[in-house]
Amino acid sequence: MNALRHSYYEASARQRLTVLLDAGSFHEFLPPAARVTSPHLPALGLPVAFDDGVVVGRGLLDRHPVLVAAQEGGFLGGAVGEVHGAKITGLLERALADKPAAVLLLLESGGVRLHEANAGLIAVSEILRALLALRATHTPVLALIGGTYGCFGGMGIVARCCDAVIMSEVGRLGLSGPEVIETVAGVEEFDSRDRALVWRTLGGKHRYLLGEAQRLVADDIGAFRATAIELLTTRRPLELAALEAEQARLEARLARYGDCRDAADIWARLGVPRPERLPLLDEAEFHQAVAPALAGTKP
């Protein structure tokens, strides 16, 4: 029997955690009742959120204890400010002591909260430091990406410093958003309103084919849950041999695709038949279509 699909894309951060974790297992740190809000937004005449746009806490994933953080994209695009960032950094540091089975980062963020500018940039850097410190332990950190606002800016770098990235086809992952590139370099460089172009360039399917995401799942919280459970044993060691292999892999990517104009050119060169139809396929059809081309390349 097929369980009812629960869209990850449509759900709030809190709703995602409710369905992702074992029923009733979630316990929140610094809950809304604590009212730890941004000290900077009121000066700009902007509303605050009681959790400053990120939910952190502990729970069970298939009975395994996990620490979790879920960014709420609806609040200022999930962007990282002083308090928001400190909650995530504290969670990652807590994992050093608690030694959970995994840390799950449900990332949905434009990156640095420009309304808190410098404090936001330093906060993202502190998240990065804490995450990289955790990579020395046995606790895998999984990035889950599939929300409306995507995962951009410094959080796009954070995502790729996790042990693995799980994306849905509607998720987006990158560094600079199309709007910023269009503002600075013009619409010919990146037409941010060309949705097909945006998803070909930044979306889950392309990131999966490129190797920027390790798993591509349907837009369903249950699918994210099942994949996270599968990846509880995953680890990407931060050691010299592994990083030299990654260096070689990234150099090969550049050599192989550096002159490609569009994602479809990359998919064609990858050996995917009829690449232009990939965006139209659902997740199951997509995996079937690309499996031969990816044979031997996916962990």
Partner: protein, 235 residues
């Protein structure tokens, strides 16, 4: 300050740092110690190619010179803003650079960064900001984003952003503001060689920037919030 003057002042005993395009790489002498040098110049935009080169240089230091201190020289206008870089996954390239630096740190290489001209956003985040000691010349320009695109994204009028920039350390570009927030450890107004030597001699510690931000008054909540998440509600 330009890279040549900087290197002369940092390494009066001599250096072998070369420039290739926007990349700086090599080593310098501080008394009897050789320090590896990796960095950027020409206010570089960091795209996939330069990110890879930076990572490669760090890996070479780890592989060939165990324990050697690493000085990152920062002069960047941030990540390159192009469709091609996004298509190829520049966030992954910069993440790899950050991981290489973490590897170096973990293997006992002391990491010092010095912002000597410009430091912007993603270009600073993946490199210089990962150092144990983040330092800057007083005249360096450190910022998150130029105000016009910031105004467009935040939908706060440019005039209001400019006004806030005059008074708030949270917002305004500048070394002093980042220092107050704990984002820069030390400002080096003079005696660069002596300050570098002192930085080399300091012990490695965990990330103290939140505590610095609190002590200096720029960030009053970050340290406390992180501590509360770490320490409460066990069991």
């Amino acid at each position: 300050m330009n890279a040549d003057d900087l290197l002369r002042q940092l390494f009066p005993a001599g250096h072998a740092v070369q420039r290739r395009g926007d990349l700086l790489a090599g080593s310098g002498r501080v008394d009897n110690e050789t320090v590896a040098v990796v960095g950027t110049t020409n206010h570089a935009y960091i795209g996939v190619e330069l990110a890879l080169q930076l990572a490669a240089k760090v890996l070479a230091v780890v592989r060939e010179h165990p324990g050697r201190a690493l000085l990152l020289l920062v002069d960047t206008r941030g990540q390159r803003l192009s469709r091609r870089d996004e298509l190829l996954g520049i966030n992954g390239y910069l993440a790899h650079f950050a991981e290489c630096l973490e590897l170096a740190r973990r293997r006992g290489h002391r990491l010092i960064s010095l912002v000597y001209a410009e430091a912007v956003s993603g270009g600073f985040l993946a490199g210089g900001m990962q150092a144990d000691a983040i330092c800057a010349l007083p005249a360096a320009e450190v910022q998150v984003m130029n105000l016009p695109p910031m105004a467009r994204v935040t939908r706060i009028p440019l005039e209001r952003l400019e006004e806030l920039s005059r008074h708030s350390p949270i917002f305004a570009p500048g070394v002093e503001n980042f220092f107050r927030l704990g984002g820069i450890h030390e400002i080096w107004p003079d005696s660069l060689a002596a300050r570098l030597k002192a930085a080399l001699g300091a012990d490695a510690v965990t990330d103290q920037r939140r505590e610095l931000g609190y002590e200096r008054g720029g960030r009053r909540l970050a340290a406390e919030v992180a501590r509360r998440v770490r320490e409460r509600d066990h069991g």
